[in-house]
Subunit: 91 residues, 2 copies
DNA sequence: TCATTATATTTAAACATATCAATATATAAA
DNA sequence: TTTATATATTGATATGTTTAAATATAATGA
């Protein structure tokens, strides 16, 4: 599948988009992501797996915890540009 | 709905993405879009309506023909950046 | 007016997806 | 070991989406 289509498929769901935006802030463990997106643990786990299979995030385990981060530079760029135009207060 | 989510929902379908990329080349009429995306006329019409409702494209009628164009500048920017890094031949 | 062409809408079928509860697995701590 | 905690997987349900055929509408020309 075309990379651009993969990226859009990955980000077209509210839960996944919220997760990825959260991860732009830096690496987070699943236990932090769950309360942030307010979905069941199984749901979050499934969407993280989907994001990983789409090539958007990568994970590492540290003891009992698993940390996810955004690994796709194009996604980082796209999302950073979609925030409000710089300087303006409330766009 | 958040604008970024709207954009990703609009572009996460192969038919719609292909249409929008085609329109980046400039305004096209529906009768040109149909053979390009190789879908039934009704399908193309429905997806164009969806793109319009998502705020990605706009249309104008000229006689019997209807012309569509990409109206969303963020979409133009995102898609132009997703093409191969400039200069390189086959990335 | 009537026929033709271009596009839009309706309908139905097939398919895909998100969600959660329950259960399984992995790791660490007692 | 056994227990507790963190995450992943499974199974079921509900919801949403894409598609094409058929039909409707809009515009033009004969």
């Amino acid at each position: 599948m075309k990379e651009s289509l993969r990226i859009f498929k990955a980000l077209c769901d509210e839960t996944r988009l919220k997760i990825v935006e959260f991860l732009l802030d830096g690496e987070k463990c699943v236990c932090e992501i769950i309360p942030f997106v307010k979905r069941a643990q199984s749901t979050v786990s499934i969407q993280l797996a989907k994001l990983e299979s789409f090539g958007i995030v990568e994970s590492r385990r540290d003891g009992k915890k698993v940390y996810y981060r955004v690994s796709n530079p194009k996604v980082k760029k796209i999302l950073s540009e979609l925030v409000s135009p710089k300087g303006k207060a409330k766009n």
